[in-house]
Symmetry: C2
Subunit: 249 residues, 2 copies
């Protein structure tokens, strides 16, 4: 789709040529300089511009394709791939999808939203300055009408565009962010906690009921983007994964 400036691909002279090419292109992709959909120059052009043989360029591109960064098709050429939505077993990025895959009807409601400065705890947790603007959200997701998961989210306004104008009436924040922000790093933690009073009321469970707590923080180039705490009633929830000794299946 988009054009690419050929001279953006620069080798650094370190290590094998094919790997230099691979890294150079990978960096352009992960840095966002070549966003998804960007068309990568054909092997021919790269070959000339880089002074390498086609097979060498080919090798780099084939490897990037195997890693999922680019998609190659004969005659159409090579384009930057849109990152796969989901990854490992815990990489549940879209709650609507998660619910629908269980064969249940999905719904959600935004219970509260405040746009302000971060509280000291939030700033601490997330490495923010007190002067940064953040949005605070409390969202309840429902499956077949019943409370499914309680989402508490902080969004760093500087990391995304159009946050102020979005009211999350049609798209829950998690899904909206996938489309309106970039991320390069994420971290999540899983633990078990008892439901607090307020939480129990919202989730329609007993106080102290064991819940699975998933906390995820996301950055883009070391800039905080969002942090979220997902509280799942434990008794009706499990995260399942399958794998083999040589990798996920």
């Amino acid at each position: 789709m988009t054009e690419t400036r050929l001279d953006a691909v620069k080798l650094d002279g370190a290590g094998p040529v094919y790997d230099q090419i691979r890294r150079a292109i990978r960096d352009l992709v992960v840095s966002g300089e070549w966003p998804p959909g960007t068309s990568v120059p054909p092997e021919h052009a790269l070959m000339e511009q880089l002074g390498a043989s086609r097979m060498t360029v080919h090798r780099a591109l084939v490897q990037l394709a195997r890693e999922g960064l680019i998609i190659r098709r004969r005659r159409s050429g090579t384009v930057v791939a849109t990152p796969p939505a989901s990854h490992a077993m815990l990489d549940i990025l879209s709650i609507p999808e998660e619910v629908r895959q269980l064969g249940q009807a999905y719904a959600y409601e935004v219970l509260a939203r405040t746009d302000s400065r971060p509280s000291p705890e939030v700033a601490e947790l997330f490495g923010l300055k007190r002067s940064d603007k953040v949005a605070h959200l409390l969202v309840l997701h429902r499956a077949d009408g019943k409370p499914h998961v309680l989402e508490e989210r902080i969004i760093h306004a500087a990391g995304v565009t159009g946050l102020a104008d979005e009211d999350f009436a049609v798209t829950p924040p998690g899904d909206w962010l996938l489309q309106h922000s970039l991320w390069s790093q994420a971290e999540h933690a899983i633990s078990a906690v008892g439901a607090g009073e307020e939480q129990a009321a919202l989730l329609d469970i007993a106080v102290g009921e064991p819940c699975l707590l998933v906390e995820r923080r996301t950055w883009n180039q070391s800039q905080p983007v969002t942090a979220v705490r997902l509280l799942y009633p434990g008794f009706r929830h499990r995260f399942v994964g399958r794998f083999g000794p040589y990798g996920a299946a």
Copy 2:
């Protein structure tokens, strides 16, 4: 180390040659026919035996090496790799290691062991016949003296050798199994539950205290090997993982 019979490598004629070679060797490795340490024939030999060019053989081997199935070194040749112990964030296979990485002293005790037939529930859970022999184990792992995790394990006697003679006095069952059994598939699930009466007593927590429950089942070529339930007191536990949009970091 071990010799390899060259004629074990057989192509199936489906798809690109380099991929046939890759799959052929991969199958030999994952099936256990070429156990870790086995030396893979040099490119030269494979090239002759398969009637392919060296570069084609090379391509297959390089890819297998990248996937971690084999290890290649100049002059020494290529050997089958020993599978990496740990994989994704949840793939905590060795509890001793897990504890030591937290900088705490590790200890464990086998609280109970019974060798018998599976109960109906166990047979169900694990797809066993009532006539199969299984060992039942209850193990408490401690970190710095304090209860760390409660392990309840079932081992299918047919899947491992030397089970009857092992008393798990020096090595906890999880680690022992890593050395005495093969596995090709695993599945695990995470959920949150409240501690039962017995469990709470053993873990030295209150009844109903939220705990993280990790259940893992392991097979070898669709033969059950072991199933384990790990109960972690939730408040002092979190599983953490880091990753990027294009894979784990």
